[in-house]
Amino acid sequence: MITSYNVFVPSLMGCGSSLRTGLKVRELGCKKVLVVYDKGLKAVGIADTIVENLRNAGVEIVCFDGVLPDPPDTMIEEAAEIARNEAVDGIVAVGGGSAIDTAKGINVLINNAPPIMQYFGVQKRLKPGVPMVFIPTTSGTGSEVTNMCVISCTSRGNKDSVVSPVCVASLAILDPELTLGLPPKMTASTGVDALAHAVESLTGGNSNPLSDALAREAIRTIAKWLPIAYKDGSNIEAREQMLLASMFAGMAFTNGLVHLGHSIAHTLGAIFHIPHGVACAVALPEVIEYTARTEYKKVRMICECLGVELPEDASPEEIGAAARNALRALIKSVDIPNMKELGIPIEAIAKVAPLVIADAGFALVPYRIPASKVAAILQSAYEA
């Protein structure tokens, strides 16, 4: 197989590294930047620290603090108008996946006319935007190192994504200290998002040895450190390891891509507005079990990373079942609710399944699965 290794984003990592934001933004030649974050981040003081750091470096600031979860296209279009009117020459995003994806969406629209929905899909000919610096405050999205952003399409009521070099940051700054204040519930949900990126990219049709290596390391790290970070948010080593795992998983899925788990997550997220990480996790064990039919070598790797021993001659079905059990145990260990606990009615599954196979990312599944089998996966995961 011939493959291409896509490594996009230079990254600066370490406790306190976010204090170099101003310095780095100035090095990129930016004089006036749009700082993108949500109001919650301002409340905990992180946004102000970064803004002050930028100002101290002599960078002019325009703030957009209206980031919403599952960023809607309309919000991105409003923010992009601010960016264009203010003629910013850089964007700094601070926060989780929503803030970073908002920044990417804004960057798409800096030199390409709205609406953004016309750019959904793989875009090779978009006009470039401005330099972007991403500072994640959660350990899950991996968006700081990817070339895509996920956007809620308000007119169609679903999620779609733009995949383009315009979505690639000039720099990611990974400061574990910024994740210390993340509450346990969010630590868990973002952590399983990273887990989903890792296991799906490993089993995706586009995976390659580089993404496999990154994904394996991410799985090992998450298996060990996510339960610790969940129980003790102040454990800086656990926070650092999770931030690293999240980045590794982001790099992995930039190469290997994600598939059925994310099509399920985007569909559940769009209908029931549950956190993305939770939506990724609810059926992830069954999704990986399904992939074992063709990707059993990769699923065996997942088992190994999770510390599950398998006999040499284990069949694809046995490998799949073992992976399902191990993934479910890990997900349960950080109290991720199942669909029943989330209040999703069982009758909804029949309606969700056809939407899953209509999701844009469904094209990436390792082998074709009809809506009836997606429904079976969801049913099996419903109370698990």
Binding site: I2, N206, L364, Y367, R368, K373
Partner: protein, 568 residues
Amino acid sequence: MWSKLIIDMKALTVTKEPLDAEFQELGGRALIAQYMIKNVPPQCDPLGNQNQLLFCNTVFAGTKLTTTHRLSIGSKSPLTGGIKESNVGGYAASLLADQGIKLIVVKELPSSEGLWLLHIDSKGKATLKDASIYQGINNYELVEKIHERFGNKLATISIGSAGERQYKNASIQVSEFGSGHPSRAAARGGLGAVMGSKGLKAIVIEKPEERYKVEYADEAKFNEICQKLNKVIAEAASNDPFHNIGTIATIEVTGANGILPVDNFSGRLFPEYTEVGANKFMTNLATRGGRNKLACQPGCVVQCSNCYNDKDGNYLTSGFEYETIALFGPNCHISDLDAIAQMDRICDDIGVDTIETANTIAVCMEAGKIKWGDADAALSLLKEMADGTEFGRLLGNGCEAVGKSLGCKRIPVVKHQAMAGYDPRNTKGTGITYATSPMGADHTAGLTMGRAFDDTGRTAQAYVSNKLQVAMCFADSMMCIFAFAHTVPVLPLFGELMAALYGGSPDFTRVSVGLGVKTLLTERAYNKMAGMTIEDDRLPDFFYNERSIATGSKFDINNVELEVLFDF
């Protein structure tokens, strides 16, 4: 109400009946599939008395939808041994619709040797006439004689000597709108042999004095939606290379990226591909009085057809297409466009599939029978086929028959049918289509080029092949796929069109499932009953084992992806 003509070649009778209620809302490929599974035993001998030959119009025949007058011809294929629907442009479907005929069924075999011609006159009377005087006469001369006898206000559907000899690569040729040249081919799968087995030399359809009027559930609504669709298609077509140049424009893409087959699908590049490319073609048209932007059927806005003259400015061929040029050209290491045009003319004239024939020539080259790139030798082989020499008759049985006979190890066929002008290692979704289409290795069943992530990668290829194979099924039931390609942003309009024509709900699933998925699954069921197995859904080994030198790629799609492709 639409009519059905039943031609019994044993009794030599023609019966006109109203179209069966169960087929009223069907047309094209969808109608062929449903008719075949109900009426033609899947295990029958394709050239025997149980097989039937069908000619039918599309779902929207008789309306103003652009390119809807595409003629679908169906039967059990003597080449693949499975179901076959081969559709063709030209004038015939339009005149059949004007005659109020949705379906012609040709049954049985003649009880004695002979040739007949089905004549549908301007008053709508259909009769079988003795055609033994046309025996051995090829399509161009035949059409001239038909024009002399019946006038010019007609369309022809005919076979040449290849069909009469029941070559498995024999085509059925249809005359072009305007010129009347028999240059449009229902080429694939040897349907000309089925027509030959039935002793039917030609169908002549005269322009009726009174034009059949389609019954609409809501004519005003239909015309409103139809106008919208026609506008979308016309606007997009004006920027379409198929309109501005012709299908030969495809070479400019495939020649550079290894999709263009070279030297019997060797996987190499052919640096001289521009010699058989768009510029050369356009220059030759301009300097020799040739033309492009011609419509093969009335009302077509894509107008991809052409008329290609020789060096002296005399008519040589028309409907000169990418497939023919790619496969007689680079795939035989030939870079002489005029020689390829001569080959195209011979194929149309004797009535054989250019794709099957060109692949057959390429395996002759691979086996050392003639030299690579030797256009004269290739032309002599075509002459042998025309003359019906012993080797010529073998050539007429197609690429696989010749390859096996000459001991060639690399035979590019699926379900015994030769591949079109796309290397499946470098457009893997197209490879999936070749492998899994009930039609055999057929690009028109779902050409994924440029539509998946990376043509040489595995990701999303099966997904795109599946989507396109379904879409091609319903497109082939409605109109020409070149016009259809421009309707993707407004697909739901076809559901509304169905409702305005036939009544009922404007639900797009009437099209996507009713004409698409159902057709595909019916065809597969037919093939299964005909004896095909999962092993028939594979590419030849060499695509899995040999690298394409152009890209380093092999066909690495796993069997599970092929096996579950049609799980709906």
